[in-house]
Amino acid sequence: MLPDEMLELRRIQSALLDVFGEYSYREVRTPTLEYADSLELGDRRSADAAYRFFDDRGELLALRTDMTIPIARLVAARLGEVEPPHRLSYLANAYRAVTPQRGELREFGQAGIELIGGAGPYATAEVIEVLSRALDAVGLKDAVIGLGNASLWPGLLADCGASAATAERSSDLLVGHDLVGVEAVLREAEELEDAHVDTLLEVIGMRGGEETIERAATFGGDRFGAALGRLGSMSSALGGRSIGHEVQLDLGMLRDIGYYSGTTIEVYDPSVGEIIGGGGRYDDLMGKFGVTLPAAGFTLYIERIHKAQIQQGVSGV
């Protein structure tokens, strides 16, 4: 990386850290190398970390795939006795597998926050406000914040009486964005009534403003209703906050990260063809490291933000 690019990346990093600091999120650092076991404890999918190796005593180590699990481990180990909430931020590299020759980065920069020990929609709303301010600080005024809830899809499948096999197959296809495949699996599933299949397919495509919640209110049963209610409270909680970006409620959002338990977040920018950030609520993750605390956070992908800035001619931020 040469000086010009380094300078621009530094500007992004410091603009983001400034915003995090204004909201009293203080920077932490964790090792690049983690025990593979502790990543796996956090999320089974993280266990498939692309880069794993043995140390001199035969312990299996891995390069971290994100910062949420390492910070959860850090808080459990070092801040267990301190009164929550913990407001923590980070600037770090993470490591993922790539397809060769695609310009994908094996090592990429992340900047984000974790609010550990803050429960419910009010705490999530704070995280989203920080996200919105962070996007402003790097000049991405057209970025859109997508909000979903991790319990919507599994809840609706359960309410409709889908078998475990149908749920797993359709969820894998939905994570892979194959809606034609989802429809085929649901139509083939003998345990599902036609009307239920129509509902499931309609809900996948529902994304928009607060009216989305009303339109879906008659669908599903108790489990879907409860998740929809939580997304509604989340959306209402944003009312009192200064959110300078369009918020899209997205009932079909299903992220490929296993630890999310409530609200899920994705960040889009019209000038970049892939998500530029994401996050959500992960109330069950801390417990796996021995300290039961609700938590939420987000991360932004530094290189993609840089790409968006260049596309839009943002400079000197």
Partner: protein, 229 residues
């Protein structure tokens, strides 16, 4: 027009496949009121103003590449291409039912069945333009093959002994018959799909949904035309 093409906003950009799928694709677009006369003409242009859509024409194999990157918001291409390019994440929205063809394993007439061949020799050589589909098919069944990638005239490979069989798309089966080949196994049936970029699907949801709905209806009309029409 050229200035605005690289920027977000403006009409949705639809990647339209040239080649065998082109006519059926344009017929579907006609049905939903998109202007396609210029594309049908003999212009050398690659980009056309279709009114509510900008039509960007390209080879079917390139459609996932453009849509993944967001250079096109939406696109139409065959399921065969989507399987083959499975590592390019795009939303697969509608089965358009057009361009229906089968991906098959074919060998020369009179040869022993592929399973018999493999029983005696252990390994088969397969020539194909679709190495991933071929590999997946045999891997799932635990059969050992050597996949040889060729770019065209696949039927030639078994005739001159490059391969024991081929994995290829067939619509009518005429080319196979004329080259002394016959279908031994059907791998998958492929139709054209409407796909969308992951971000366009979210940010421009109203337009993408509207296009998907109209194309779904048009495709259903083509499959089961109303009496009298």
């Amino acid at each position: 027009m050229f200035d605005s093409l690289r920027k977000p906003g403006g009409p949705l950009k639809l990647a339209v496949p040239r080649g065998a799928l082109l006519d059926e694709t344009l017929d579907l677009l006609d049905r939903i009121g998109v202007e396609t006369a210029e594309v049908r003409g003999d212009s050398r242009s690659l980009v056309f103003d279709g009114g509510e859509l900008t039509l960007v024409t390209m080879r079917p194999y390139d459609v996932p590449t453009y849509v993944e990157a967001g250079a096109a918001d939406v696109g139409i291409t065959g399921k065969d291409v989507l399987i083959e390019q499975g590592d390019r994440p795009v939303y697969e929205l509608v089965d358009l039912g057009i361009g229906r063809c089968r991906m098959v394993l074919a060998t020369q007439k009179g040869d022993a069945a592929p399973s018999e061949h493999q029983r005696r020799l252990g390994m088969m050589r397969i020539a194909t333009k679709y190495p991933r589909i071929a590999e997946q098919h045999f891997e799932k069944r635990g059969r050992q093959v050597e996949v040889v990638e060729v770019k065209g005239s696949i039927e030639l490979a078994p005739l001159v002994g490059l391969a024991d069989g081929i994995v290829d798309l067939v619509a009518t089966g005429r080319t196979l018959a004329e080259n002394n080949l016959e279908i031994r196994e059907e791998i998958v049936t492929c139709t054209a799909r409407l796909v969308a970029n992951r971000v366009s699907y979210k940010i421009r949801s109203a337009e993408v949904d509207d296009l998907a709905r109209r194309l779904r209806e048009a495709a259903a009309e083509v499959e089961s035309p109303e009496p009298g029409s």
